[in-house]
């Protein structure tokens, strides 16, 4: 059966875009089993997949794709499987980011027809505009646009775009950038949806997975230590203006909205306060109910429910919720806190 993708993509294009269903279909027909990866001819695939995972561990760029299409597509599929077995969301995210970045550069270089075809495969609805408008030759579905917007400010911000009847006008480079974001999510979803319960791993693959897993563990430990260094005990003077405002409102006995309470509790917990400390901050609220407050704070701290620890809202969301009170030039309230602390400790060193 001829590849439908070949109509638009040449066969060599598939190595640049191994996530395209046609590429994956193609390797399926080869009938390769996991045990085959341990045999010599396919070792290159395993090595390449391991290289991809290591690049994600080290946070470096991925090497260019293999010129052998089948090798590239199989390595991509195997990389996803390895990440699934390692099972760490942060590592998966790092791979998704690195891979999307590599792909984004290819996409930006494609002609319009190819680009539209690839984005369509990522479920990003995009059309070639019937007439170029202010230099924009494509339009993206508005909901796909906001779901894949790289950043909610500057020229990307929806209020600043040409928006018309459900479409947002973009140029080719912007379309490729939106594709990058869509690809990140596509990869994460693919890994999420994989079922590995029935997969039998040959020993050699299994020891590779163990090795990568412990490499990531070491790397993660050093990342966390670096973070912890900057945050030793919480320091109220370094709180960003938004959090300081909420605290003073709570202390003044004002009624603060639920969103502000969530922002405050998640912030305080993130900078190392324990549940009791946080409750004592809230105790001056006019409608303070210890039982309810404790339940909610414990939930935010990850001590209830799924054990998921909540982070405070990022600045964009704080602004939308009407909780932002200053222009701090940071993206996240915690970033303000850490940067202030770091600046201060540098000063003290001097």
């Amino acid at each position: 059966m001829p590849l439908k993708a070949e109509v638009i993509l040449s066969i060599t294009d598939l190595s640049k875009y191994p996530f395209i269903p046609e590429a994956l279909e193609r390797v399926k027909t080869l009938g390769i089993e996991l045990t085959d990866f341990t045999a010599k001819p396919l070792k290159g695939i395993v090595e390449r997949a391991a290289t991809y995972v290591r690049a994600a561990i080290d946070g470096v760029e991925l090497p260019p794709p293999s010129e052998d299409i089948d090798e590239e597509v199989l390595s991509f599929a195997l990389t996803l499987l390895l990440l699934k077995v390692i099972g760490d969301r942060m590592l998966t995210r790092r791979f998704a980011v690195a891979f999307s970045k590599r792909t984004g550069a290819f996409m930006a270089g494609e002609d319009n027809g190819k680009l539209v075809y690839i984005l369509d495969k990522l479920n990003l609805k995009i059309l070639k505009a019937s007439e170029t408008k202010y230099g924009y030759d494509h339009k993206v579905n508005i909901f796909d646009y906001v779901n894949n917007i790289p950043e909610g400010k500057g020229s990307w911000k929806l209020v600043h775009r040409l928006v018309e009847k459900g479409w947002v006008y973009v140029n080719k480079y912007e379309a490729a950038r939106l594709g990058e974001e869509a690809l990140k999510e596509h990869i994460e979803n693919k890994i999420d949806e994989m079922k590995i319960e029935d997969v039998q791993f040959p020993d050699e693959l299994y020891s590779l997975i163990e090795g990568l897993s412990s490499e990531w563990g070491r790397r993660l430990k050093s990342i966390r230590e670096a973070w912890a260094m900057t945050v030793q005990g919480s320091s109220e003077e370094a709180f960003p203006p938004c959090i300081a405002t909420i605290i003073s409102n709570v202390k003044a006995g004002k009624n603060v909205p639920h969103s502000a309470r969530f922002a405050l509790a998640s912030f305080l917990l993130s900078v190392g306060m324990n549940v009791e400390d946080v409750l004592s901050v809230f105790s001056s609220a006019p409608d303070f109910n210890e039982k309810i407050a404790r339940y909610q704070v414990e939930h935010i701290a990850g001590r209830r429910g799924s054990g998921k620890k909540y982070l405070p809202y990022k600045c964009e969301n704080m602004r939308t919720l009407g909780l932002c009170v200053a222009d701090c030039k940071v993206k996240h309230p915690l970033m303000y806190y850490w940067m202030t602390l770091r600046r201060r400790s540098k000063k003290e060193e001097k």
Binding site: K133, Y134, N141, I142, F143, V146, N147, I149, G152, K153, G154, S155, K157, L158, V159, H160, R161, L162, V163, E164, K165, G166, W167, N249, A252, G253, K254, N255, P257, H258, S259, P286, G305, S306, K308, E316, N317, R319, T320, L321, G322
Partner: protein
């Protein structure tokens, strides 16, 4: 002579029961009902009963008839396991895009006729809307708010602006928009199209900012031109550029003018004041929100969260559609001042009778009133 019976909060349950008894399956307009979480609060017990689900509309209806709840909510989200107690175990599959327009968030002239405040610090009280106590400056303020036809008209105008934006900019068609009265001081606009269900919180925030005109940056939208500035995309453009250009045309008679930054700022602010929609961002950004069930009764008003078409809103048939209980004049006695204007009625301090639905609203929402039945 028989002693006069008084309507109490607990006997109000009987009134709600009579309403739910005549409700039919066709009145329950919730899509994918079995995937939604339901929540109830009742007249005879406190708290909210959450994490409840129903396999089919008939079962929900039976529950409404049997328990006559004070408030009924359902989730804007679709879940795999809607009755799971733990939010993360529910298996979130998507959520409707919902906009809430509430006159609580909009300044209106009528508030001084019906809204009351009390300072928790010095116990001073008064009419209208204050942020801080004019007597002691305290900001711990307790409020009791009411709705009148003026409020509803203000909220309705916001709905029209939103609908225009959803159609013209977001490309949604009227039949994709489901508008209901919120039961008290505004409207909910639900969008259930598959394309919006998968929107993440960041995406919803971006849409909120668009609707409210938040984050509009004059420096991004203008370009230098002949010693001044003009819109990056001027006349014949779309989105906010077209709105701003329209306002420039209205104010200056030129739709694509070259102006200095200060003059542009005035145009931007004017346009935003006129065209931005006062939605409550907390509702739209929340992908796990509980929202009032359409056609259910609001426990603090006795009014029905009735669905409206844009056409019906334009015709202004409001009270008739949301009023469930009778217009019959009944005797009341008061233990304090009543708001001067609620729903479609002006209340004088000497009133000794009121239409039943108005008296019920006053009682349910905590006014110092006794209803003799």
């Amino acid at each position: 002579m028989m002693e006069k019976a008084q309507l109490t909060l607990s006997s109000a349950k009987g009134l709600f029961q009579s309403y739910y008894k005549q409700l039919t399956v066709g009145d329950i307009v919730v899509s994918s009902l079995s995937k939604r979480e339901f929540a109830f609060s009742y007249f005879d017990e406190g708290g909210m009963h959450r994490h409840i689900s129903f396999e089919e509309t008939g079962k929900l209806l039976n529950h409404l008839r049997a328990s006559s709840p004070k408030h009924v909510y359902y989730s804007t989200a679709y879940y795999l396991y809607p009755s799971a107690k733990d939010m993360d175990a529910k298996g979130w599959e998507g959520a409707d895009l919902v906009f809430d327009i509430d006159v609580d968030h909009i300044e209106t002239d009528c508030k001084s006729a019906h809204d009351q405040w009390r300072c928790k610090t010095c116990n001073t009280s008064g009419w209208g809307n204050v942020k801080a106590c004019p007597h002691c400056g305290g900001e711990a303020i307790e409020k009791r708010t009411w709705v009148c036809e003026t409020c509803i008209n203000v909220a309705r105008d916001e709905v029209f602006k939103l609908v225009e934006m959803l159609e013209m900019d977001f490309g949604l068609s009227l039949h994709e928009l489901f508008i209901t009265f919120s039961g008290h001081r505004g409207f909910h606009i639900h969008v259930e199209s598959p394309a919006v269900r998968v929107l993440n919180q960041d995406a919803r925030r971006e849409l909120i900012d668009y609707v409210k005109g938040l984050g509009i940056d004059i420096r991004v939208m203008l370009v230098k031109n002949k010693g001044g500035f003009k819109l990056r995309y001027g006349a014949n453009s779309s989105g906010w550029y077209a709105r701003i250009s329209r306002w420039a045309l209205f104010m200056l008679g030129a739709e694509d003018p070259v102006l200095n930054l200060r003059d542009w700022e005035k145009i931007f602010i004017g346009s935003m004041k006129k065209e931005a929609v006062a939605i409550d961002e907390n509702v739209t950004i929340d992908t796990k929100r509980l929202i009032r069930l359409p056609n259910s009764l609001h426990g603090k008003t006795g009014l029905k969260a009735a669905p409206f078409t844009v056409n019906e809103l334009e015709k202004g048939e409001f009270i008739e559609k949301v009023k469930v209980f009778s217009k019959e004049e009944i005797k009341i006695s008061t233990g304090g001042e009543l708001p001067k204007k609620v729903l479609d009625l002006e209340i004088s301090s000497t009133s000794r009778t009121l239409p039943f639905y108005v008296a019920l609203y006053l009682m349910l929402n905590g006014a110092p009133i006794k209803i003799n039945v």
